[in-house]
Amino acid sequence: MTTVQERSPMPQEREPNPAHSDPDRPIGYGRIQRKEDPRFIRGKGRYIDDIVLPGMLHGAILRSPMAHARLVSIDTTEALAHPKVHAVITGKDLEGLNLAWAPTLSADVQAVLATDKVRFQGQEVAFVVAEDRYSARDALELIDVEYEELPVVIDARRALDPGTAVIRDDKDGQTDNHIFDWEAGDKAETDAVFARADVVVSEEVIYPRVHPAPMETCGAVADYDPIDGKLTLYETTQAPHAHRTLYAMVAGIPEHKIRVIAGDIGGGFGNKVGIYPGYICAVVGSIVTGKPVKWVEDRSENLMSTSFARDYLMKGEVAATTDGKILAVRTHVLADHGAFNATAQPTKYPAGFFSIFTGSYDLEAAYCSVTGVYTNKAPGGVAYACSFRVTEAVYLVERMIDVLARKLEMDPAELRLKNFIKPEQFPYKNKTGWEYDSGDYEPAMRMCMEQIGYDDLRREQAEKRARGELMGIGVSFFTETVGAGPRKHMDIVGLGMNDGAEVRVHPTGKAVVRISVQTQGQGHETTFAQIVGEELGIPTDDIEVVHGDTDQTPFGLGTYGSRSTPVSGAAVALAARKVREKAKAIAAAMLETRPEDLEWEKGRFFVKGDPSAAKTIAEIALGAHGTVALPEGIDGNLDAEVTYDPPNLTFPFGAYICVVDVDPGTGKVKVRRFVAVDDCGTRINPMIVEGQIHGGLADGVGMALMEFIGFDEQGNCLGGSFMDYLIPTAMEVPDWETGYTVTPSPHHPIGAKGIGESATVGSPPAVVNAVVDALAPFGITHMDMPCTPARVWEAMQGRPTPPV
């Protein structure tokens, strides 16, 4: 099927850079190509599997075929007899080192290698170290494990039933599968508003288990030097510094003797935040054999055992007046955390930032409660570009607004416009304790409606409906919550969520920026150079960005939750400003004037009223390192360091509209158009911003239409390969149409808000709303993702089925 795409032309031109006349040497913000791309495009990236060290051995993990079973015995004799096998490590061996269990990022423990039981299919049972990866895999088949099957807990809704098998009997005092209860908002106040509301709608809304499925799976190369006791660990990690600290705490290797190196990372999306058993096994393997050990998981291992995302079963409720004033939202969530509570999120937020489910609306009350449970599934839960569960929150509220619109027979876009928080209400305190820093929602919504031709589409839809054709228009408006975070509220395992940056200008005026966050494809090497360039007037090409090596970069918590630009971007900008202040003092000395008499123009200081008396940043750098007589208190360099503690989070937002056509005979959904208007505050590199949005939109279409990790009754994972776990291709997504507004963050040094996850957060409800809208003639008000042909057809028969 081909459809005509009406598109407004995308701006392709490089946005003018007033600071510099040479267009090939851009300075500062603007649409420029990414510095890292030449190596990626030429296949010269250095990913974990590209690392080869002399004498390196290869590890492989034996995994449990069962979802819940007692380990009766493990016999490794035959595997050890394999001529190329150097070591076989089991949970018993790790127990001796006190490493059989490791702390998770959520105050739980997780088995590194199983000792007592296996608790999900794919759980790590033994680790083989061999001369090559083939022999390592062959030897796995020679390990004989005897299991005694136990009843499995797969349906989270049954997890707390009396008499259900207790998964975590390893934990003292744990007598059921309950993990936590958590709430936000005022229950009594919310119940009262609901009680007096004209209209209440409610719906069971499931955000099924999905998986980030980065192109590069997880892996590590551990190189322990027994002579100087130093561990060099190459890892696929989004958070090298946090990992190093945790290894020091867990493994007892002193922190200064651990170097974590994260080279090029082939996608993270939250999948590479946690510490996986494979990493620890590689380290132990290297210590045991005295040689470097590489472990890289395969695709099935990645999908079956590493951090999944979502798995939220939500009951959504909205209270409103008959004329469409939304009064309150209320929800209870059952959160399936799998066999170990290993979600990666700030300590005080066991449900992440889910309480932002109040969305973009001015409400009188809101209340949510979340219950976390264990099931016999892989652990994880905060991943896949979710901004700490904002994805779930936005999906719930945006789905529910559409349910309300249907009930009130109002246009869903109009209903949203009517209820937005008004620009003059910012900073806006919502009913669950967040302070939205800034926002101007209506222009973004109007721009999106105009760009897609909303009214014309509604007319077209009416005509098509009359002919029995199924066309749907889905609206979604989201407010994101990113840039965690203020250390007084936010830490991960006790580490404050702050990030450091160091800027050093070399004598010839070139610069190096060292950052604690870790790119996985977001373009840090370009964006951070542009931030420094903007502040110091140094061409982007002349600024090297160093990241991903704990020996070379300042401490910080890493990249996830769209926090790089909000936190590290601020650190870099402030460090650059410190450099500029210092440069001013040095320039004054060089020009024999007072700093107060100097004025800054991108790239140079000049004497007020005499622009010809000037020193460029390069001249100042040479002066700083040269023989200039430095003023009192200024030392001989042009360097600065900052650790940034954000005063608040940032709140990017956006308006998305999606158009779908549904084949009435087969239930097949075709996404015809998608317009995304995003506001991430200051746009440092619009091309990178759009790239992030394009990727996130594709994620959203994937989740809405096909992605799903299912389980059968025995607990077998049904999404363990790319034949079963479907991710969208270019054929399933339309040409993205984007637009933007700019509402800078008032508290961020450069007004930037973070864009990494906006589209993943905002797009699934737009697609699902469009599908449900298309199915309106069948009288259904909701269907759960994934909207596969069969599931859509079932909905058309009036019986939409939950995916779990």
Binding site: D49, R133, Y134, R137, D138, E141, V296, D298, R299, S300, G665, T666, G667, K668, L705, M706, F708, G710, L718, S721, M723, D724, L726, P728, T729, M731, E732, T788, P789, A790, R791, W793, E794
Partner: protein, 294 residues
Amino acid sequence: MQVPAPFEYARATSVRDVLELLERHGPESHVIAGGHSLLPMMKLRLARPEWLIDINDVVELRHIAEDGDVLRVGALARHADLLASEVVGRLFPLVHDAEKVIADPVVRNRGTIGGSLGQADPAEDLTTVCDVLRAQVVIAGPSGERVVDMADFHRGPYETACEQNELITEVRFPIRARSGSAYEKVERRVGDWAVGAAGAALQMADDGTIADAAIGLTALGLEGLATDAAAVLVGQRPSEGLVAEAGRLAAEASSPVEDQRGPVDYKRHLADELTRRVLRRALDRAGATAVQGG
């Protein structure tokens, strides 16, 4: 990285060579063509051949040639070759319908018709295509060559008449005048195997009635042709009612199983819906007077 269990490898350059190697290395030796079914299974260690006999250099098996009233297609013809072939598209448009939705270009560049039929995956598309075109399969073995009808060749999921020590060398498609054919598949995503698919081939008589019809289903639990559905068409003038009746009978003949792609009732519905769609299109292509509601 998923890695297969150890195996040995030999490259053959002629049909005779292949047969000799299969004989020499015994029952655990297998032919590999495009490798797009065999290798994934080997990597998951679901298949563990001791020997792989690579037939990609057997150039005599790559032809696509019109020869009187048959089209001969060598077993090594790639999906991409079939899709690019003008003669295939002209004579048997359903082959192009199917090839456009088999896997993706990367797989189509390597996967072969011989491998597809040899694999006999229940969701594999070319078996249905060959069924409805009443193709014949040429099998070479130690004692010479034999030609078997699709009905005898395809014995069920993953089972064919081609023995381990034999080689599929050619597929022959009878060329028939005033014929039309079509194939349609529902997949969850490009490159996915069929949730369900249907294929139809028809021949029209001079008086505007349907002279012959064949209907097949993919991934819907029907081995061979939907004979009842086809039978109602023969001798009749095309009409929407007739097409609907054939669809109903095809659905009746199907016996799908529930899986992640969908429940039984949906798949049975697809058998009906897709049969009607391919019949309308096949009729149209055969030059039948337009059917209402196409």
